[in-house]
């Protein structure tokens, strides 16, 4: 063996040893890492690996590749695969750009009506995705209110790539917005101020300072949306038409042809592009990290007030907002109309119906999501902290494991959970726990991503100072790192709550006679043509989420207010 290679190996080995020894000296940290690993392996890795193995074996447990062969030769797998990727790339890019425009406008300019835009940007994720598809059909379809009654276009075709992409961008850009807003808020504006002071133009500061500093957030948003678009089932099933995509193919196999194995395999194949995108992003971000929060005194953000920048931004945001409002206005309107398209008289019938039939499901949804949300967000922040700040063996594995449940279509996760937790030793089917666990891990990666992004902005010396001053790892995490991640924690909580409240495909296999969820009812009402009841459910869901967001904002701001000064 070449001696230099050997020396390198030895050095790496001794580094590993040192890392290990360091870890042994911090039993608390070691314990936290082990617990996180155990949880991730049990709830993220095991169900998916087990499902994957079941795709490759027959009933007796023998290796059997017939299913794979079938997928590759008998279905339109490759076409759907490329269609999904094309859609994901396009939607990921566009939604991230839109999200960035929003985030920049809200955090960096003196825009009138910021609070309003902030709420409007979150609106699209407050409802299950197929709601927007429904509104698009009612407004722009062949007999849509706008296309037919207003513009007198008959035969407008909404089925296919274009409208699917529009709807996905509209429903997914809030993820980018929340992520980038959290990041731009943590990003210390003194660097930007320095650029300005040194005489650079606004454009130059934007292009050479703000944009490069936001690139990690940009990329992670892109990744999240890319994965989300690939796994999205609600929108494509309504709008894709002849444009076949993987999630719909998987669903057709499982639910249509009763072929659990090939369907699961198709669903799991979405993991490949998602993981690839993730690894590329991870590699890229680790190469460039930008620390801007250093603990030293900094200036306040100088908000842009030039008309030539604010007005165009205002117009763009206003147009987007109007479009969003139009979509949701339609849904609200449908919920009050007696029969859409025929009898336009106003009635409360739909609400009476959902109060009678759906009260239990509403309670359950609220309760289960409320339990899942803090667990998911805190676990997410903890993992982000461990990944960004600590060195330990198996770090890569931890980060991959935490993103696994997010990178598969919900239907695969749901079936994986049923298969894994239906019998002893861990029998969870039929309980509330299995739904909570699914919600926690389905939404975990958003917390991890936002947490990591905001932590990467912060100089580790602040935490080191805390350690040097005698605080333990736990105390440092809770009183230094977590407050720094406040904005990220909030957006993590918000996101995981909303995603828990509105998830459909993952939980449809997990709801039980004791625990039912609102979204499952919505889907059922849409399937059975009761648009009024479906819309009323959606409105109820949105109201619940908006109230909860208000409460959340209050709690997080209230609890952190006292500590705020300490790091700013």
């Amino acid at each position: 063996m070449d001696s230099t290679v050997y020396a390198g190996k030895r050095r790496r080995k001794s580094e590993k040893r040192r890392e290990f020894l360091m870890l042994m000296k911090q039993p608390g940290l070691l314990f936290a890492i082990l617990v996180v690993f155990a949880i991730l392996i049990l709830f993220c890795v095991y169900p998916i690996v087990r499902l994957f193995i079941s795709c490759l074996t027959d009933k007796t447990g023998q290796l059997n590749l017939d299913n794979i062969n079938y997928v590759f030769t008998k279905t339109d797998f490759f076409k759907a695969f490329w269609n999904s990727i094309k859609l994901g790339l396009f939607v990921g890019l566009m939604a991230t750009v839109v999200g960035f425009i929003y985030a920049f406008a809200v955090t960096r300019t003196k825009l009138p009506g910021k609070k309003f835009f902030n709420i409007m940007a979150i609106l699209p994720i407050l409802s299950p995705p197929f709601v927007i598809s429904l509104a698009v059909m009612l407004l722009f379809g062949r007999s849509g209110l706008i296309t037919k009654n207003l513009l007198h276009i008959r035969g407008n075709n909404i089925y296919g790539f274009t409208w699917l992409a529009i709807v996905q961008i509209l429903s997914l850009f809030p993820l980018a917005y929340l992520n980038l807003k959290g990041m731009l808020e943590t990003l210390d504006s003194s660097v930007e101020n320095a650029g300005r002071t040194l005489g650079a133009s606004r454009l130059k500061v934007f292009l050479t300072v703000t944009l490069p500093l936001s690139l990690p957030g940009f990329l992670s948003s892109f990744l999240i949306i890319f994965a989300k678009s690939l796994c999205d089932f609600g929108n494509p099933q309504v709008l894709a038409g002849d444009y076949s995509v993987l999630s719909v193919s998987a669903y057709l196999q499982i639910v249509g042809l009763f072929d659990l194995k090939t369907g699961s395999f198709i669903a799991l194949s979405i993991l490949l592009p998602c993981m690839l995108a993730y690894l590329i992003q991870n590699y890229w971000v680790s190469k460039r990290s930008f620390v801007t929060v250093t603990g030293k005194a900094t200036g306040t953000v100088e908000l842009i007030s030039e008309k030539k920048i604010v007005i165009p931004l205002f117009v763009v945001l206003l147009l987007m907002t109007l479009f969003t409002l139009l979509m949701y206005g339609t849904v609200v309107y449908v919920s009050f109309v007696k029969t859409w398209g025929v009898d336009w008289s106003m009635t409360l019938d739909s609400y009476q119906f959902i109060l009678k039939r759906g009260a239990r499901a509403m309670q359950d949804t609220l309760l289960l999501s409320s339990v899942a949300t803090p667990l998911s967000a805190l676990l997410g922040m903890l993992i982000a902290f461990l990944l960004v700040r600590k060195n330990f063996f198996g770090k890569r594995l931890m980060s991959v494991a935490s993103i696994l449940p997010f990178a598969v279509p919900g239907i695969a996760l749901g079936i994986g959970y049923v298969a894994a937790f239906n019998t002893r030793p861990i029998q969870l089917t039929g309980t509330a726990v299995i739904i909570i666990v699914a919600m926690v891990f389905r939404t975990l990666s958003i917390g991890v991503e936002t947490g990591s992004n905001s932590l990467r902005q912060v100089d580790p010396s602040i935490e080191e100072a805390s350690i040097i001053l005698g605080a333990g790892n736990a105390k440092t995490f809770f009183s230094v790192s977590l407050p720094i991640m406040k904005s990220a924690l909030f957006s993590g909580l918000l996101n995981s709550f909303i995603r828990s409240m509105t998830s459909v495909s993952a939980v449809i296999f997990l709801v039980s006679v004791n625990w039912n969820l609102l979204t499952v009812n919505i889907l059922s009402e849409i399937e059975s043509n009761r648009l009024g009841a479906a819309s009323a459910y959606c409105v109820a869901l949105m109201v619940m989420v908006i109230l909860a967001v208000g409460v959340l904002e209050f709690i997080v701001n209230g609890l952190f207010a006292r500590r705020r000064r300490s790091y700013e």
């Binding site: 008998k74 279905t75 339109d76 379809g141 062949r142 007999s143 037919k148 309504v238 038409g241 002849d242 076949s244 669903y251 057709l252 196999q253 639910v255 249509g256 009763f258 659990l260 007696k338 029969t339 859409w340 398209g341 025929v342 009898d343 039939r357 359950d364 309760l367 409320s370 339990v371 803090p374 805190l378 079936i415 049923v418 298969a419 239906n422 089917t429 039929g430 309980t431 509330a432 809770f478 009183s479 977590l482 449809i508 296999f509 039980s512 006679v513 004791n514 625990w515 039912n516 499952v520 009812n521 059922s524 009402e525 849409i526 399937e527 059975s528 043509n529 648009l531 609890l559 500590r563």
Partner: protein, 342 residues
């Protein structure tokens, strides 16, 4: 900061305490099931049943495919006593996969014997028929009569105006496919479907959705089951229902016991199945959900064309269920992929 965590954890704990109180409502007089009937229908039936017998029913509403996937996934530890509302073809498939237990109600001899399973693996309930639902305004605008033949749908006036569900996701649409194949033979049948595909605007997921589209004027004509069509008519949409003169295909809904379901719920579930094929359930299903009763002793107040007046084709549901996979494959590969060419 620790306070925050304490508050959060206390809240979580509080919820955790609430949960078991909610969860375990195992009463003597109750059972669990998965239902494929839509929420309003299953709720109506269950309410009436509880009123008449005092037995509580706890259920989850799922689509047929979702239900089958769940029962299969839960095979080693079944979560419910019975399933209800799926087609008899799916019931046969599930029986073949060893997912069902037999049960024969005492009043089975009142049922239309053509649809009773000789092994008693499932109990037939109602029958629904394939039909066309046309938008009245569109017909007037185009000066057309409602279609009365499958071949009507191939006419150029129907270009981009036909809507049907995808056969892999909807029982109604699969019946359309398999009855076409049974009527014309595989080769001619798929030739017909390929022709039809040229006029189809979109294949929806749910079998009921095409009628809403037609009611709204999104498309001119929808194909699907009569109960869904009639529901759209009942809601007040301008939909005209007509039947193919070559003979309509049909679907039979069923109820069945899940193999190895909870032992203490068996008796109550059996009572529910007995009740389902009795007069009050059959009458409700006809008058409220537009499904024709298969109990030959029940004659509810007529509101639709009597089933006797509709030409039913000679349809083999066993063959239909057996060939589902290959039929749907052929549909995906030959009919749908040819969509790219147009």
């Amino acid at each position: 900061m620790k306070k925050v965590i304490t508050v959060v954890l206390c809240l979580a704990l509080l919820f955790a305490v609430c949960i078991p109180a909610n969860a375990e409502v195992t009463q003597e007089n109750s059972f669990t099931m998965y239902s494929c009937y839509v929420e309003a229908e299953v709720a109506g039936l269950v309410e009436l049943f509880t009123q008449e017998t005092g037995i509580e029913v706890r259920y989850v509403r799922l689509s047929a495919g979702e239900m089958q996937a769940r029962v299969a996934a839960e095979k080693d530890n079944p979560q419910v006593a019975m399933i209800f509302g799926m087609g008899n073809d799916l019931s046969m498939a599930m029986a073949a996969e060893d997912l069902l237990d037999p049960y024969v109600p005492a009043n089975i001899d009142q049922m239309d014997q053509r649809f009773v399973d000789p092994d008693g693996m499932y109990v037939p309930l109602q029958i629904i028929v394939t039909c066309f639902g046309s938008n009245a305004d569109w017909l007037k605008e185009k000066g057309l009569e409602p279609p009365t033949s499958w071949d009507d749908l191939l006419k150029p006036e129907y270009q981009g105006e036909v809507c049907v569900a995808h056969p892999a996701t909807s029982g109604a649409a699969y019946t359309v496919l398999s009855q076409t194949v049974q009527r014309l033979g595989t080769e001619e049948g798929f030739k017909y479907l390929k022709e039809l595909d040229k006029n189809v605007l979109v294949y929806t997921k749910a079998g009921a959705a095409p009628f809403t589209s037609a009611g709204l004027g999104e498309v001119g004509v929808a194909i699907g089951y009569s109960d869904n069509a009639q529901t759209v008519v009942d809601q007040g949409y301008p939909l005209v229902v007509s039947y193919p003169k070559e003979g309509a295909g049909y679907g039979v809904t069923a109820a069945a016991m899940v193999k190895g379901g909870p032992a203490d719920e068996q008796e109550a579930a059996h009572k529910f199945i007995d009740w389902l094929i009795g007069e009050s359930a059959m009458t409700l299903a006809y008058s409220e959900f537009n499904q024709y009763p298969l109990n030959t002793t029940v004659h509810p107040e007529p509101k639709m064309i009597p089933i006797e007046d509709i030409d039913l084709m000679n349809f083999d549901p066993v063959l239909s269920a057996k060939t589902k996979k290959e039929n749907c494959e052929m549909f995906e590969n030959e009919v749908r992929s040819s969509a790219d060419v147009k």
